[in-house]
Amino acid sequence: MHDVVRRTALSGRSQSSHDKVARGLGYFSIALGVAELVAPGAICRAAGVRGLEPVVRGYGAREIATGVAILNSHDPEPWIWARVAGDLADVATVAAGVQQDNQSRSRSAVTLATLAAVTLVDLACANGLNSEKGSRKTARRDYAGRSGFPQGLRAARGAARDFKVPDDMKTPELLRPWDEAKGGRRT
């Protein structure tokens, strides 16, 4: 059975390779976000687009927020999906802002290729993190034989009914169920 269902953590660690990639993406997000906030003009020139400095600054804030969330979350998966959404916004922004001169067009092409590569890394990471969580898809075991009752379930039912519940945990008399079979006495 164990060769069918894999374990997810790296040997000797409590984190998986996807956790490590997610942390790397968190640091990358913060670094890129700072660059976009501090030098939006340079980022626009490198991407071959013009006049989008305010937008790039906004994207920088987004990148920093996402990066901080990834690094501080016990479950970075939703934030990696947020990065994927951000990647798509980046692609759309660059594609809409492509200039007609050859130099800008070639810079935009390189930028779009880079964004596509980063998106693939984000997608792979988000999918990987998702696949590490238990679900109907990952469950492989059936514990139907584990009752925990050595003498069987039938013998176990009510076997401790004579246990004296401490007074501080007893249900008050007036809240106990009415038992018609006992002539209207409470159980």
Binding site: A9, Q15, S73, T138, G148, F149, A159, M169, T171, R176
Partner: protein, 398 residues
């Protein structure tokens, strides 16, 4: 010695740390033969509980052999004794201990000031469970220092495997207390949210205490299969409405007794309100995800009992107290008063009424502990309960 050490969020490592030594005359040192990862350890792993520091040794489900005893503990312990260590450290002398309320011992939390600020008044010191509860090193290690050892132990006989006894330290009495404080009547339906290790023990306890029907709620097929084996009717909340099904099974009146064996990390995408809680958690506007509490309060029969063994840490949002008040529900909760129950539970194990080892799905060397934290947290590999064996090597899969 080797020990599992917390280094940060989701970062636990097997490190070499200094061996523990006797620091007080009531101390004892035990050589750990078995320890386990508890579901509540995952709250530390995920860093939802405040008060952890890098370098803290994890673990509060531990048993082993006494190897050194302080002079004041010798009246009740000697070298060579086989003991299970309750997760609550108890003095046995304070007002609360004398009343059997061991989990709120007034003496053993050495960081009382912190706990006073967080909870209003201190609770007992706990092993390996944040500096709010004393910052005591835990038992996922080769050796453990046991403070107040003359009272903080459960002596167990030789000749019985560790696996049958280890859970007297926490999950078995926790499940038992959760059911006992419902004061189960033969006519009762008991609904239990969560089929993790505590949920499984709660199911068995409710069956032993004679509930008319026990209903278990989870989403993982392997956990539901174990719940069914223990005598529960199961509800997979990903496939059907919990409220509708519970009402159907109780003639439209709701279960008399509802038990929350989930706690603060309800499945984050299992419901709209959990997603809301998760978003608020991410923005540090809420500490816990109380979906189960809300559902229990809503579905419980009027004049019923809500029992909460699941761990909650701080501030919760959108709690329908109107339903609790208007239906006259009783809430019973608290950390487990372990030693209040263990004499009785040990007898039930010795009499073969129950064998708590049924819940173990993975047995591994201590060194594999870090990766087992992730396997357990992510519910991979059919993992329900992990037992770690210091001083062993290689595959010990159950």
């Amino acid at each position: 010695m080797k020990a599992l050490v917390w280094h940060g969020t989701t970062d636990i490592r097997c490190d070499s740390v200094p061996d523990p030594r006797i620091e007080h005359e009531r101390d004892a040192i035990i050589k750990v033969t078995s320890c386990a990862i508890c579901g509540s350890d995952l709250h530390l792993y995920d860093h939802f509980m405040p008060g952890m520091k890098s370098g803290d040794v994890m673990g509060h489900e531990t048993m082993g052999e006494v190897v050194e005893v302080g002079p004041a503990a010798r009246k009740s312990l000697k070298v060579g004794d086989r003991v299970v260590i309750p997760f609550t450290i108890i003095c046995g002398e304070c007002d609360q201990c004398k009343r059997g309320n061991f989990s709120v011992c007034e003496t053993t939390n050495r960081n009382k000031g912190l706990a006073d600020k967080a909870f209003g008044h201190t609770t007992a010191g706990l092993f390996g469970y944040t500096h709010l509860t004393g910052g005591y090193p835990g038992g996922q290690a080769e050796y453990l220092r046991v403070p107040f050892a003359d009272t903080t132990h459960i002596k167990v006989p030789d000749g019985i495997p560790d696996e049958k006894l280890l859970f007297l330290s926490d999950i078995f009495p926790t499940g038992w207390q959760a059911a006992v404080q419902c004061d189960i009547q033969p006519t009762d339906t008991v609904a239990i949210w969560g089929c993790g290790p505590v949920g499984q023990m709660t199911i068995r306890s409710a069956v032993l205490l004679g509930a008319r029907q026990v209903i278990a709620i989870d989403r993982l097929p392997e956990r539901l299969s174990m719940a069914k084996a223990g005598g529960a009717i199961t509800i997979n909340f990903e496939e059907e409405s919990v409220v509708e099904r519970l009402n159907e099974l109780t003639g439209g009146k709701g279960p008399e007794k509802c038990i929350d064996a989930v706690g603060l990390e309800a499945h984050a995408t299992g419901s709209v309100d959990s997603m809301y809680d998760r978003a608020k958690q991410a923005m540090m506007l809420e500490t816990d995800r109380p979906h189960v509490l809300r559902e229990m309060m809503y579905v419980c029969r009027p004049a019923g009992v809500l029992s909460i063994p699941g761990v909650y840490g701080g501030l919760l949002d959108k709690i329908p107290l109107g339903a609790v008040m208007n239906k006259g529900l009783t809430i019973r909760t608290g950390q487990t008063h372990v030693n209040r129950w263990t004499d009785d539970l040990l007898n039930r194990v010795l009499e073969n009424q129950i064998d708590p080892s049924f819940v173990i799905t993975h047995t591994e060397p201590l060194e594999s502990g870090p990766e087992m934290y992730k396997t357990f947290r992510d519910k991979q590999d059919g993992c329900i309960k992990v037992v770690l064996k210091p001083g062993t090597n290689g595959g010990l899969h159950a």
